[in-house]
Amino acid sequence: MAPILEVRDLVKKYGDFTAVNGISFSIDEGEIFSLLGPNGAGKTTTISVISTLFTPTSGDASVCGFSVLKDPMAVKGCIGVVPQELALYEDLTALENLQFWGQMYGLSGKALSDRISEVLDQIDLKDKAKQRVKTYSGGMKRRVNIGIGLLHKPKLLFMDEPTVGIDPQSRRAILDSVKELNRQGMSILYTTHYMEEAQELSDRVGIIDHGELIALGTQEELTRQVGETDTLVLHIAENEDPQPLVDRLQTLEGVRRANVIDHEISIITQSAQELIAPAIRTAEAMGIKIFSMDIREPNLEAVFLHLTGRALRD
């Protein structure tokens, strides 16, 4: 079966700056594929090119068998886009927004009203559909933003960081709706910088950094890249400077890499159990108090750290 999306050597440059540097990947029908990377890695630019908003500098992508270069209108008819920013009209009601965007996707008459009714059910806003969007909470606005992308039942849905800046409850609801859409047969390209989201949702993950796809595969395949390692996480006081401790920990036997974010030190090691005692002794010797520690199985965060030397949130 031909993939629903195939990206080939895609490059996008803005003057001297290369936002996307020769990435290639494909998505099979019915698959959730996540592009995981820190802010500014090139995730949104990649989606913008594939969704025909920007023309690639070189390379091509085919969506539903149509080239983004040669047949952009056919591509647009096949995809749905949920942008990172809330692309809505706040002075219109949710219903009016859905009517407008549905019409822009070519729907009209009964087909449009039926579809709006279904989408309002899906995003759980039927009761408040006639309220202006500006009166909604951030989470409700996000749901309308997603609903617009679903109106024309796209075969492939692009979701660009749809959970940024919302409360945990709304986030949970969005993640559940992504899984439900996928169960209904929709293929999804999901971008995020939250490792947990990529882990929970994805069949396969592409890790992107500085415009390059640095790893690609299932979660098992990716974590295997880090080898048989554990991550020992140390939490220290906020008034302590963690960097000297990180530098000392790097020199301990068995430590592959150490990194710090917000007074949380992550150490990739072959055996976390064996490192606990030396790590505590080192901290004590430096007069730094460790509040708590935990051991984590290899995950995508560790993969990113392993590949780039930086944490995802850096």
Binding site: L53, V81, P83, L92, M104
Partner: protein
């Protein structure tokens, strides 16, 4: 074509849900026209206003002509049914009348009011700034508001005359056509003349070009289209601004990701600006016809002029949007354009009061052509007599839309 209309109607809906836009698009021109209507006595004896015999206490301590003129305005026959002035000698008496609820407001014209505006013939200088005191009766807010409108309209007229003289002379002086000494001497004369002339503005006599006969022309019939055309520029720059705003908020990129041709999206946005302009002019013209009983002239001519003026103004709105990067820049520049076009296009005063070159320059504004057309129709003109302004407005729109569409594509507003 269907998507063009969907987009345009969406924009129309959005602008009519923006209270700030509605105030500037509809309320402001209405209120200014209303003020002009009151000062020109358009509502005297009119059963439509429902307001009459508003008592006002006036104290005139000014020795000059402007104080007398203001009193004369309130005592004029045109306002006879609307206001009932009582002339008093001291401010204390006037305040007492207001406090006793026997007057809706008191107007205190201080000593030196005329001298503060009209330069002294010998010294060539104006006196210190003095302000007219307006004391409103809190128990009669509507009546006090009407009196305030009459006073404001009078003061606006005086100010317009004074500024007109200053601008004209300073421009002549800057270009070397006048020496500073001569400018000062002329300033005394012209300032006094224009301030008084504006203050004493009476219905204008216009030559009816079609019949050759002189017809009486209502001053309000000049200010109503003048204000409508001036605030039309606000509506079109608002529309132009929305294009950049949509680009910034992500709705324009989202539209470009739908199966809609970029040209249709731009076309829809431009159609939205045009429909907004048509709606604004139609509401203002319809409203002034009903409320002020203005006769705008031959209906078909009025419709064609509305469409042509909206087309030309929309061209300006689209063009201005292509000049700037942010919506705020468009809004700021749009406000300046609105005022400059208003002044230049004759929305505030008759262009014949100004030098020939101003009249020539005014031809770049839709205001001047629109005003020419509307006043011609109101003066009894026929369709053939507004051919020139109609053609000029349509040509203006075509040129501006042509330039704007090329620049929009270059700037990537239609996709990158």
């Amino acid at each position: 074509m269907r998507k063009l209309l969907i987009l345009a109607l969406k924009d129309l809906k959005l602008i009519f849900r923006d209270p700030a836009a509605l105030i500037l698009m509809l309320l402001a021109p209405f209120l200014i026209t209303l003020g002009m209507g009151l000062i020109t006595g358009r509502f005297s004896g009119s059963a439509t206003s429902g307001i009459s015999n508003i008592s006002v206490a006036i104290v005139n301590q000014d020795e000059g002509e402007l104080g007398e003129t203001l009193v004369a305005v309130f005592e004029s026959e045109d306002l006879a049914d609307l206001v009932e002035p009582t002339i008093l000698l001291t401010p204390g008496d006037a305040r007492q009348l207001v406090e006793a609820d026997q007057a809706s407001a008191a107007i205190l014209i201080p000593q030196g009011f005329s001298a503060s505006i009209i330069p002294d013939e010998r010294s060539g200088t104006s006196g210190e700034v003095v302000l007219i005191d307006f004391i409103a009766n809190p128990n009669a807010p509507t009546n006090a508001g009407v009196l305030r409108s009459i006073l404001d309209a009078f003061l606006t007229q005086v100010e317009v005359g004074r500024i007109g003289a200053e601008v004209t002379l300073s421009q002549f002086a800057q270009t070397g056509k006048l020496t500073p000494e001569l400018a000062a001497r002329l300033g005394e004369a012209l300032g006094a003349q224009l301030a008084l002339q504006s203050a004493q503005a009476q219905p204008i006599q216009l030559e009816d070009t079609t019949s050759g006969a002189a017809v009486k022309f209502d001053l309000l019939m000049y200010f109503a289209p003048g204000m409508a055309l001036m605030f039309l520029m606000f509506a079109v720059t608002y529309g132009g601004r929305s294009l950049l705003l949509e680009n910034r908020t992500g709705t324009l990129p989202r539209m470009l990701q739908t199966p809609t041709a970029p040209a249709h999206i731009l076309g829809g946005k431009v159609l939205g600006i045009f429909l907004t302009a048509v709606a604004q002019l139609t509401i203002l013209i319809g409203g002034t016809s009903l409320l002020f009983r203005l006769d705008w002239g031959q209906p078909l001519g009025v419709v064609l002029l509305i469409l042509a003026a909206a087309f030309a103004a929309s061209g300006w709105g689209s063009f201005i949007a292509t000049l700037f990067k942010t919506p705020a820049q468009v809004a700021n520049f749009g406000s300046i354009v609105m005022l400059v076009f208003g002044l230049l296009g004759g929305s505030f005063f008759d262009l014949s009061l100004l030098p020939e070159w101003v009249s020539t320059l005014s031809k770049i504004t839709p205001n001047a052509w629109g005003l020419q057309g509307f006043t011609t129709l109101a003066g009894g003109g026929t369709l053939s007599s507004i051919g020139e302004p109609l053609l000029a407005l349509v040509l203006m729109g075509i040129i501006l839309f042509g330039v704007a569409s090329i620049w929009m594509r270059r700037r990537g507003l239609a996709g990158k």
